[in-house]
Amino acid sequence: MNVVIPGNTDPAPSVSALARKRLIVALVLSAAMIVIYFSFMGLFAFDKPLLGTILMPGLSLCIVLGPLVIISSFALCLVYVLWANRVFDAGIRNLR
C-alpha cells in the first residue's frame, strides 16, 4: 500500500534536517525543564532540612527555589518561542 507524499516523493533532506534541528532544541529544553524540576523535587523528597534552611526572617531556601522553578518554566518557554519564531519559522519559509 502506498503512502502518498504530496508534491515530493523523496524524504526531502532539508525537511529531515530541519525536523532534526527542531527535535534537538525541543529535547535539550525539555531536559533542562526536567532537570530543574526534579532537582527541586529531589531536594523536597530527600533533603528537606536543606530546602528548609532559613535565609532570613520570612525567607527559606524553598521559598526562593519554588518560585524560581515557576519562573524558569516560563523563561524556557520564552527561549523556545523566540528561537522558533526567528530561526525555525525562517527555515520553514525556505522549505515552502
Binding site: N2, P67, I70, I92
Partner: protein, 527 residues
Amino acid sequence: MGSSTLSIGFFFAFMALTLAITYWAARRTRTTEHFFAAGGQVTPWQNGWALAGDFLSAAALLGIAGIVTSSGFDGMIYSIGWLVGWPIILFLIVEPLRNVGRFTFADVVAYRLRQRPVRLAGAVGTLAVILFYLIAQMVATGSLIKLLFGLPYTWSVVVVGSVMLVYVLFGGMLATTWVQVVKAALLMGGGILLAVLVLTHFDMNPLKLFAAASEKYGTKVLQPGSKVVSGQWDAISLGLGLMFGTAAMPHVLMRAYTVKDAKAARLSILYATGLIGVFHLMVFIIGFGAMVLVGADAVAKAGGGGNMAAPLLALAVGGNAFFGFICAVAFATMLAVVAGLTLSGVATLCHDVWTNVIRNGSASEAEQLKVARVATVMISIFAIFLGIAFEGQNVAFMAGLAFSIACAANFPSLVLAITWRRFTTPAAVASILVGTLSSLVLIYLSPTIQVDILGKPPAAIEHQWWFVSLRNPAIVSMPLSFAVAILLSLVTQEKNANLAFDEMQRRILLGPVQPNTSAQGHAKSAA
C-alpha cells in the same frame, strides 16, 4: 446573609453573560470543525486565556490556598507540578499535534498506525482520564457550592451539569472557549486583587507576610513538611504524574486545534504558561494571607477541608462584596473546567469511536454533529449521576489518578508516535492499555484505596504480598508503559508506519498540505 445575596447576584450576571455567548456561538456552530475546534479561528491570546481557564480548576484557587493555609510551603508542590508540564507541551507536543491532528490526541498517535485498534485504545485512555477527573470535579463542585451558596448538594450538581450541557450542546467549542476566557479573566483578576489586598497589610512586601506567618505559627510553615506528600519516592512519583500528566491531558491538548496554525498554538501555550505561573504565585500569597489574617484554625473550622481559605480571606480584606465575587468566580471556574472536560470526552466518543472506529472514517457531517450532541447529553447525564452517586465520598484521589493515567497511558504513546520511526500499532495499543491498567491496579493496592477508602488498618495490609506503598503510581506505570511500547516496537514490524514517518515529519513542519485535507490519513487506514 447579605454576602450570599451578593454572590448569587454575581453568579447570575456570569450566567447571563455566558448564556448570551452560547446563544451567539450556537448560530456559528454548523460543522464538526466548529463544534470541536471553533473553526480554528481562536487567536493565540484568546487561546492562552482559554487554556488557563480550561486548566485552572477550583482546586488551583480554593484547594491550594487551603493547603498553604494549613501546611505552609507544601501547597506550592502542587502549584509547581501543575506548571512544569506546560513547557513539555510546548517543546514536544503542541506543534506536531496542531499540524497532524484534527480534534483529538489519538489523531496523532493513529496517524501512521492502524486506525481502529489505536483509536479504540486511545479512547480507553482518554475516557478513563476524563471520567475520573470529571467525577473529582463534580463532587468538589457539589460540596463547594453547598458551602459557598447554601444550595443543597444534589441541586448544585444538577445545576452545574445542566449549565455545562447547555454550553457544550449548543455552543460547542466556540462557547466553551469564551466561557473559559471570561472565567480565566475573572479568576486572574480576583486572584491578583486578593493578593494585592493582602500585601497592602504588609507594606507590599511578601517577605513581611511570610515573616508574620512564621512568627505566628513557627518557621515550619516556611519549610517543607511531610504532611501533604508523605514518602520520598512518592514525592518523585507525584512530580512525574503532575508534570507528564499535565502534558497529556486530553482537554488541554484539544485546545491546540482551535487556533489557525502551529505558530499560533505555540504562542498560546507560552501565554497560558505565563498566566498560570502568575496565578500560582498569587495563590501562594493568598494562602499565607489567609493563614495570617484569617487564621489557620478559623479556616479549618469553616469546613470544606480548607477550601474556604480564599473566600474567608476575601471577606476579611474586601468585605461582603468581595466574598460574593470570589464565590462566584469559584463557581465559574468549576463550570468552565467541566465544560472543557465534557467537550474532549465528546470529541473522543464522536470523532475517534463513532466516526473512525464504528463508521470506518466515512460519516457525514450531519451524522457526526448528531452523534456529538447525543454524546454531549450522555456525558452530561453521566456526570450528574456520578456526581450525585459519589456525594460525601473521598474522591480527592481521583484527580491524582486522572493525571497518573494521562501520564502513563497518553504521554508515552503520543511522544513515541511523534518522534520514533519504528513505533508500531501493537506497541501503541499495549502502551496505552498497560499505562491505564497499571495505574488503576497500583492505586487500588495502595493505601490511597486500601486505607483511606476501604478503611483497612495500615498494619493489617502492610505485610501482604500485594501491598503497594506508593500512593502515586506514575513512577512505576509510566516507565512500564514506555518499556512495553519500546519492546513491542522492536519485536514487531510495521512497514507502512515506518514509511509514513517521513511524510509525517514533513507534515509536522509544514502542516496539512491543503487546509481542508482530512487529518485521518485515510490512505493508511485500509492497511
